[in-house]
Amino acid sequence: MAPRFDPRMSGAPLSPRPLGLGRHASVPVSRRAVLGGGLGLSVMAALSACGGGGSGAAAGDGTGAITLGSNQSDAVPKAAYQKIVDAFIEASGSEVGVNTVDHNTFQEQINSYLQGDPDDVFTWFAGYRMRFFADQGLAGDISSVWENIGGNFNESFKEASTGSDGKQYFVPVSYYPWAVFYRKSVFEENGYSVPTTLDEYIELAEGMKSDGLTPIGFADKGGWEAMGTFDILNMRINGYDFHTRLLAGEESWETDPVKEVFNTWARLLPYHQEGALGRDWQEAAQGLLQKKSGTYLLGMFVSQQFQDAEGGEALEDLDFFTFPEVNPEHGTDSIDAPIDGFMMSAQTQNAGTAKALLEFLGTPEAQKVNTDADKGLVAPVNGMDTSGYTALQQKASEVVGEAAHIAQFLDRDTRPDFASTVMIPSLQAFIREPGNIDSVLADIEAQKKAIFAG
């Protein structure tokens, strides 16, 4: 049976989040074991490199004790973070405390957290969401860290870590793709093949329907799940650049390109699982696991539901394909792959220690600890030993690597107030009554103007 109990699944998160896989896969937290590997050396390198690199930060550049704010409250990733931090402590002699907060809570309260008494280093998301806080002066400039770790990352990751002022504020630690998940055995048994165009996908869905399957699993009780569908359709139909501009408030929602996205979605809706607004994504994932649904578009954290099922074989049976091409002009060149990582608080008094830790977090050795523990994630860093990857992780890494454009997910690519107070109710209104596209889009546009004006 799938893990039935996971406090991190609490409530309805605003955003997809990587979930700890394998509650049974324990992480050994012995410091000696860690230091046996290359971790210690990396820390040394990070520390020595950082010594000279510190450009004048706003707050104190001290090297005293710091705390790290983590939202990884599940046992496995929590242990993995602790292991990374322990390695850093051991090698650097710095004091680092880890404060772990429930993922959902952390996210909902990030504003007050950053204005109140934030940890020196804290977990957050890349892209717009990072910039939002960097622009408000709540995050510390860590460009000096990037001078040392820049070589470890592709340009797209550096871009996602850079604020509107051209400075870096973020170190990417993990990411995961949004894609169409399916069970290999279901495809084999029924002779299905992976669709490469929308028409093929619809044909496949028709076939699944006649075979008694729900073609596309669907849940949107939390309100954020459907954003994944909107994102991929918009990027497939109108391309990444339009998608970015639309979410930045620079394009109107009452235009033909956007209508085309919703019309296409409306065409697909009859193949979606009904009653999505009353269903948690975990329930929809269970439908896929139990072979009641043929496919399910979600983040790779869906694998969490497969982890313990069928003696571990369900996870090996899980596969995915990137959402098929709709508009040949854009092919399948874009994908949602939200990046998680760490930032430094602008208020820190010990930027020296904080930067050393951030630099260490940007090394292959540190990130491997994380991806070894959490099989739902992939590491952004180059030069990492990926022999420990599952087939799913390997494929995720390849698929994202092949994508020309990586989006962060709707609620990370736009203003948070717009995402939560406008997009959630609007997408739900559309799903409830797909015939209402015009009025839904008019509502979004009017509110967008009001919110982005501020």
Binding site: K221, D417, D443
Partner: protein, 301 residues
């Protein structure tokens, strides 16, 4: 304001007769609670009014924008009208269905009846549960795949997920708790009704229903006011139960939820959320003031 012993009214004493020490004591005894309520309740309530005229995300400077938030709420904020409508429906169901049921139970159980204490206990029991827990418990009844109703009837109704019926479903749960509350209030009121007036009416040939409506009910006026206030407040305050079920979305929008969604989390539309709060405040104060007027009028004389 006489200071002499003989002229003072029987029920109270004038403050001026007291020593300085005593007057300081009195000031402290009243002052501390007043400050607490002022600082933590009325202060924030007034600050809400101020913030409702601003745009603020909690970080950047506050910007004064006049009535713009209100204007946007009523024109381009789609959840507002459904939320207001749901609040009204909530109120109406509590007032027109749950409250009369509570009254009926109270009247029936007020009689000399075997096991009346037991019945009272049963009907009152849900009142001691939190509304959040009520929502939690009723999901066991309503759950589409595992719930009692669907499993018993073989239906496959999405009770809490279908926006056309979920408000009704939730209101059954809310009423389940409300009925007991109202019953207790009326039971207390009925205990205070002099039995001889009932008997007198019955000797005059009135049947039980006539007796109740013509003789007993009018004497319950003070209780009726309390019941009305309790009902209105419960209707306006409703939050926990829908928040537990689906965070107040998809057919379960309420004003209280909209406020919360706008001010906590990353959204931080503080001015906008405050404006919704002020709308709720004004509606509440309307009822509160008329209640206080009814209650304290006689004392003031």
């Amino acid at each position: 304001m006489s200071q002499t012993n003989t002229a003072r009214p029987p029920a109270t004493r004038r403050i001026r007769r007291h020593s300085t020490g005593d007057r300081v004591a009195l000031a402290v005894m009243l002052g501390v609670p007043t400050l607490v309520v002022m600082g933590l309740v009325w202060g924030p309530a007034m600050a809400s009014v101020f913030l409702s005229f601003t745009r603020w995300n909690g970080v950047t400077p506050i910007e004064f924008i006049g009535l713009q938030n209100y204007q946007q709420i009523v024109t381009i904020y789609p959840p507002f009208w459904p939320a207001l409508r749901n609040n009204v429906i909530w109120l109406a169901v509590l007032a027109l269905i749950a409250t009369p049921l509570g009254l009926l139970l109270a009247v029936v159980l007020d009689k000399q009846l075997r096991a009346t204490r037991f019945y009272q206990g049963v009907f009152y029991l849900p009142v001691v549960l939190s509304l959040a827990l009520v929502g939690f418990i009723w999901t066991l009844i309503y759950s589409q795949d595992q719930g009692l109703i669907n499993q018993l009837s073989g239906a496959n109704v999405n009770w809490l997920g279908d926006p056309d019926i979920n408000l009704g479903a939730v209101l059954v749960a809310a009423a389940w708790r409300h009925v007991g509350y109202i019953m207790v209030l009326y039971l207390a009121g009925l205990k205070g009704v002099d039995p001889s007036i009932k008997e007198a009416a019955q000797i005059d040939g009135a049947n039980q229903v006539q007796t109740f409506f013509q003789v007993v009910f009018p004497t319950l006026k003070p209780i009726n006011i309390v019941v009305l206030v309790v009902t209105v407040i419960e209707g306006l305050r409703a939050f926990d139960i829908v928040y537990i079920i689906n965070k107040g979305t998809n057919g379960l929008e309420l004003l209280s939820v909209l406020i919360t969604n706008n001010i906590i989390g990353e959204a931080s539309r503080i001015g906008f959320g405050s404006a919704i709060a002020v709308i709720l405040l004004v509606i509440s104060l309307g009822f509160i003031i008329s209640y206080l007027w009814q209650t304290f009028r006689k004392d003031a004389r």
